[in-house]
Subunit: 306 residues, 2 copies
């Protein structure tokens, strides 16, 4: 039993908020693990209190990262399932809540596996694959194509430098990798045969919300006709439009700019890639090469005013 429910919740919510290194799928699965732990061990008197504690934690984790759609969707699915919780016996209720979290985590892992099974056979041996930021889905695909002598070109992903983690993982896979700044994307894109991009979310019109810089890579890829594939499980699909989307902004301290009068650093972590720049979307159910609705232009209100 946790002696202090609030302390546990606070710690887990802060972790969700601050873990800007993890991709969406990974963070969602760790949030499900938190719910599983809390279901099994939080200090409550009865099933009503349990349900209320669990829903509180789930909802607060949702709100901790408003632009991380997959987190929202998976937790929402779990919250919906909580309406079926058996309310007679506390142990049984705990078991039910934990089992639902386990089941959703498994289905998310399965989804990524199915994406990998679809994408891997399409990759021509010897290809040069360009990637950006850290994506567990992209990493699993790269892991699955070991031995077909592909190379990778990757970005450092300022300011979070998720690129280092990506580089270390690629190194373990012994994949020859070129590591560049975002500014060099235009210099290297024409060497690539394929861009493999994870996503934070795929909007209703097929636009992709992902780490800032994704849009620039998509623009550069189109110029040299390099296919741009977005790999994202269906939990990342949203019914939202671009204008209903808020792009998450982090502390500007991360840019390490000393304080200068009249100068305001900004640290928007995500950007929007319109559907027309995407060659294919892949989720666990298959491929999609177009969206019927035309992609919306970037609305003026998407960022806070400068």
């Amino acid at each position: 039993m946790y002696s202090n429910n609030d302390q546990f919740k606070e710690r887990r919510i802060r972790a969700v908020k601050e873990d800007v290194r993890k991709g969406g799928s990974e963070l969602s699965r760790s949030a499900l693990e938190d719910l599983l732990d809390y279901a099994e061990a939080c200090d409550v008197a009865d099933t009503n209190e349990l349900k209320s504690e669990l829903l509180d934690l789930a909802m607060q984790m949702q709100l901790a990262r408003p632009s991380m759609l997959v987190l929202w969707n998976i937790l929402q699915r779990w919250i919906e399932r909580m309406s079926g919780m058996p309310m007679g016996d506390l142990a049984e209720a705990r078991q039910f809540a934990a089992a639902q979290a386990r089941d959703l985590a498994t289905s998310s892992v399965q989804a990524v596996k199915k994406i990998t099974q679809q994408v891997s056979p399409q990759i021509v041996p010897g290809s040069i694959i360009m990637v950006h930021s850290y994506s567990t889905t992209v990493m699993q695909i790269l892991e699955s194509i070991e031995g077909i002598e592909c190379k990778v070109i990757m970005t450092e992903s300022r300011p979070g430098i998720e690129g280092r983690r990506m580089a270390r993982t690629l190194s373990e896979l012994k994949i020859p990798t070129t590591y560049i700044t975002e500014a060099q994307i235009g210099n290297f894109i024409y060497k690539a045969d394929l861009v493999l991009m994870g996503a934070d979310s795929v909007l209703v019109d097929g636009s992709v919300i992902n780490k800032a810089g994704t849009y620039l890579m998509a623009l550069a890829a189109r110029e040299v006709r390099v296919p741009f594939w977005v790999v994202a499980e269906s939990y990342k699909h949203s019914s939202r439009t671009v204008s209903e989307t808020e792009l998450e902004e982090m502390e500007a301290d991360e840019l390490q700019l000393p304080s200068i009068d009249f100068v305001t650093p900004r640290n928007v972590y995500f950007d929007v890639t319109p559907a027309e720049l995407v060659s294919a979307w892949v989720d666990e159910n298959g491929y999609r090469t177009s969206y019927s609705k035309p992609s919306e232009p970037m609305p003026a209100g998407l960022l806070k005013e400068t």
Copy 2:
């Protein structure tokens, strides 16, 4: 008199090689100052030795930064003028060489002034101007429009972080400035009314060689129809084509990536922006809004092989 000519030359050549923070015009003018100093004070016995020493320094400075075209062109002009050096009297010869350097530096300063005089009146009061890297020409334009309430959006310019110097100068001018990573260019470009871009060189077809990231900003500007103006004195105009151009690459250490097996960091400092992405080129002689020859595609051999 310099007691040791070689030491002076070596120091100045190294400075030219290593000063990757300075823009092309600025670096060229400081190279001319070095020639002026050396003309006045190098330790030689006669005019023949003087000429040989001076040409040696000038040519070694040219070779120190092969992709910095303006440096090459200005020093080439100076070298050509040395054929008119009076060879009778040493003091007179020194004076001649120094005067030529002074004259070329002045004409470069004048060129930038003329560019400023042309561009400034075109800028609508209250405009938001987007810039990238450090350019003295762009800075002079921004200085000249003080009081018309413009704002600036600028990039940090990894890995050299020339952005900090730009930010400090803009702060002195009290211009409200937004400072972003290169990755956020796509998030902010649609707020801009105009991109003002310096150049390292303008090739024969109008393509622009400039700090890496310039091409991405140009692509993003075209998407949202923000005019993209290149401001570059005519010393930066080249008769070379894209395929005759080598993009300067700096030490990859600057990326501060720890050594990781199979992972090679790359640090290409420049990129190529094709002419069709440029709305206008401005030099001291006027505006140009198109080049007759179609722009060349990026040839595969432009970068060293990965």
